[in-house]
């Protein structure tokens, strides 16, 4: 018997976020100041369509949406926008007047998530079947955003469209980097279907001399990091490296501790995430937002932490798992 669906499913969340992207799209359409406004309008409109209607378009329809997003972003039809906002002088004056209370709405978001999560786990709320299973955090995140938005709106009294215009300013600064992570996860799935993972598995196994534990640990961790660097995502690397090396060699043959090997192996992959510009959320989004000139500035700042951390993770597996 399948359990009854929760009152609020992920689909509802997609509608809310999709409505926001639809608003970004509409506001771009009326934007006469930016040359890229038309492209931005179509780009965010496609994101809105995917979020709101993705369950109804069928796989091929969704594929066409993805190709549309890629075409617009890849050939330079999207770009920064400059909706009307406050000047630096006005902002300083607001900041002087409101003081540290300005942090309060931003802090309300984690507070709501925290209280919601506690209530969910320690009161009957958790049994009420309100939210899609194991996804309650996302519901509390959205609730927190709405609470913060309401408080800010009542307190600061901005024009009604201000939150959406300011949100549009930020999303256009981030641009296609906001969509790349989802695209890369999808890429990993297709790679898997096309047999790429199997080939990588064959290749690594053929390279390893049997019986050398340290080398097996090193190749497992290195495989996690390298595959993550190439695909921009440690999640895609783990299933491949687990079935290629971790399970047959480290766990079955050498009797290693599976929980340790799994957890630390994933973290070795994260060292790769620190080193790849493909991890857009982490290494490109800040370049855009902070207006850094070198597109690899964040990756370069991370290398000297990522490399020693990689060594630490290899050592943890080698010395503690066996």
């Amino acid at each position: 018997m399948t359990p009854a669906p929760a009152l609020l499913t992920l689909e509802h969340l997609y509608w809310i976020v999709g409505a926001m992207f639809a608003a970004f799209s509409l506001l771009s359409l009326f934007d006469r100041t930016s040359r890229k406004a038309r492209g931005n309008a179509i780009f965010w409109g496609l994101m809105a369509a995917s979020l709101i209607g993705g369950s109804r378009f069928g796989d091929f329809g969704n594929g066409l949406i993805v190709l549309g997003l890629v075409g617009l972003a890849g050939f330079g039809f999207t770009g920064r926008s400059s909706p009307k906002t406050t000047s630096e002088v006005e902002r300083q004056a607001f900041a002087d007047r409101r003081g540290n209370w300005l942090f309060m709405p931003a802090l309300l978001i984690p507070l709501v998530v925290l209280i919601g999560t506690f209530a969910f786990h320690f009161t009957p709320l958790g049994q009420a079947n309100l939210f899609a299973a194991r996804r309650e955090t996302y519901f509390f995140l959205i609730a927190g955003v709405f609470v913060a938005l309401l408080v800010a709106q009542l307190w600061l009294r901005p024009p009604l469209a201000a939150p959406l215009q300011e949100g549009r300013r930020l999303i256009d600064a981030i641009g296609w980097a906001a969509v790349l992570p989802q695209l890369l996860v999808a890429m990993g799935t297709v790679f898997d279907k096309a047999g790429v993972s199997g080939l990588i598995r064959e290749g690594t196994l053929a390279m390893l001399p049997p019986g050398n534990l340290f080398l097996a640990v090193l190749v497992f961790a290195l495989g996690m990091a390298m595959f993550t660097i190439i695909t921009g995502n440690a999640f895609a690397a783990f299933p491949v490296m687990a079935s290629a090396i971790a399970v047959p060699l480290l766990i079955d043959t050498h009797g290693g501790n599976p929980a340790l090997i799994g957890a630390v192996g994933m973290l070795a992959g994260f060292c790769g995430t620190l080193m790849t510009p493909l991890a857009a959320n982490f290494n490109i989004v800040p370049v855009r937002l902070l207006e850094l000139r070198d597109p690899n500035a964040v990756v370069k700042a991370q290398l000297a932490t990522a490399i020693p951390m990689f060594a630490v993770n290899v050592a943890l597996i080698y010395f503690l798992a066996f």
């Binding site: 809310i16 926001m20 979020l51 378009f57 969704n62 594929g63 066409l64 190709l67 890629v70 972003a73 906002t85 406050t86 902002r91 607001f94 409101r98 540290n100 300005l102 984690p110 925290l114 999560t117 995140l141 955003v145 800010a152 901005p158 201000a162 939150p163 300011e166 949100g167 930020l170 906001a178 969509v179 790349l180 890429m187 990993g188 790679f191 096309a194 047999g195 790429v196 190439i230 299933p239 687990a242 599976p258 929980a259 799994g262 957890a263 630390v264 973290l267 994260f270 995430t273 493909l278 857009a280 989004v285 800040p286 937002l289 902070l290 500035a297 964040v298 951390m309 630490v312 993770n313």
Partner: protein
């Protein structure tokens, strides 16, 4: 030999990477090449790609935070963040960023990973603070130094997130580990996995904090 052909997708990724082409285009070219060389028809590759993209829409949810943050920026959030650090006499880049590293690791470890980040906290709050702290140590910043401080702030956020979030047992990567091993008949509880993320978290805190202290020194040395 022909069964190695799908690997051309990986080669395309590396090549696009090296030529600094748009990653969206490169990834899509790699998908189409690998899929078709792996024996799928074009229409089937597009469908698989679309299905996988659609199945992962949850990744887009985090952007819901932008309107609130943008609104607060409109009313001077960044200016206030700068003012707060300017009023603290002993603030340095290292002290500020070590504190933020700890905050990021601890909040990520209890499941609040989405409430901080580059759009949420780094750009509106922590980077403006770090620039003011750097000015106190270094005097007025030249563009190159300001860029280094901003990049280090973003790096600190990533390190804190990556080596904090896996301590929280209900996060995506823990589910990925659990499912990949369950497929090979190894059943693990999320809590076991989360516990083994702690040693790396401590090491990351020590290593990155040391780097931040050294970064502070280089700022002071470079002071005109």
């Amino acid at each position: 030999m022909s069964h190695y052909l799908p690997l051309i997708g990986i080669l395309l990724l590396l090549l696009g990477f090296a030529l600094r082409l748009n990653p969206m285009l490169v990834a899509t070219a790699a998908v189409l090449a690998s899929g078709m060389l792996g024996g799928m028809a074009l229409e089937q590759v597009i469908s698989e790609f679309g299905k996988a993209f659609n199945d992962n829409r949850i990744i887009a949810i985090v952007w819901i935070i932008l309107p609130v943050i943008g609104l607060l920026e409109r009313y001077g959030l960044q200016a206030r963040a700068r003012g707060l650090i300017a009023s603290l006499r002993n603030a340095t880049v290292a002290r500020l960023l070590i504190l933020y590293l700890l905050y990021r690791q601890l909040t990520a470890a209890i499941g609040l990973h989405n409430t901080a980040g580059h759009a949420q906290t780094v750009n509106p709050i922590v980077a403006p603070m770090a620039l003011v702290a750097a000015e106190k140590q270094h005097g007025p910043l030249d563009e190159h130094t300001a860029q280094r401080v901003k990049a280090m702030t973003a790096a600190t956020d990533n390190v804190g997130l990556f080596f904090g979030e896996d301590i929280f047992f209900a996060i995506g990567s823990i589910v990925v580990i659990q499912q990949a091993l369950a497929a090979r008949n190894i059943e693990l509880s999320p809590v076991d996995l989360a516990l083994w993320a702690i040693p790396s978290a401590i090491a990351a805190f020590l290593i990155h904090s040391t780097r931040l202290v050294l970064f502070d020194r280089s700022l002071r040395r470079a002071a005109p």
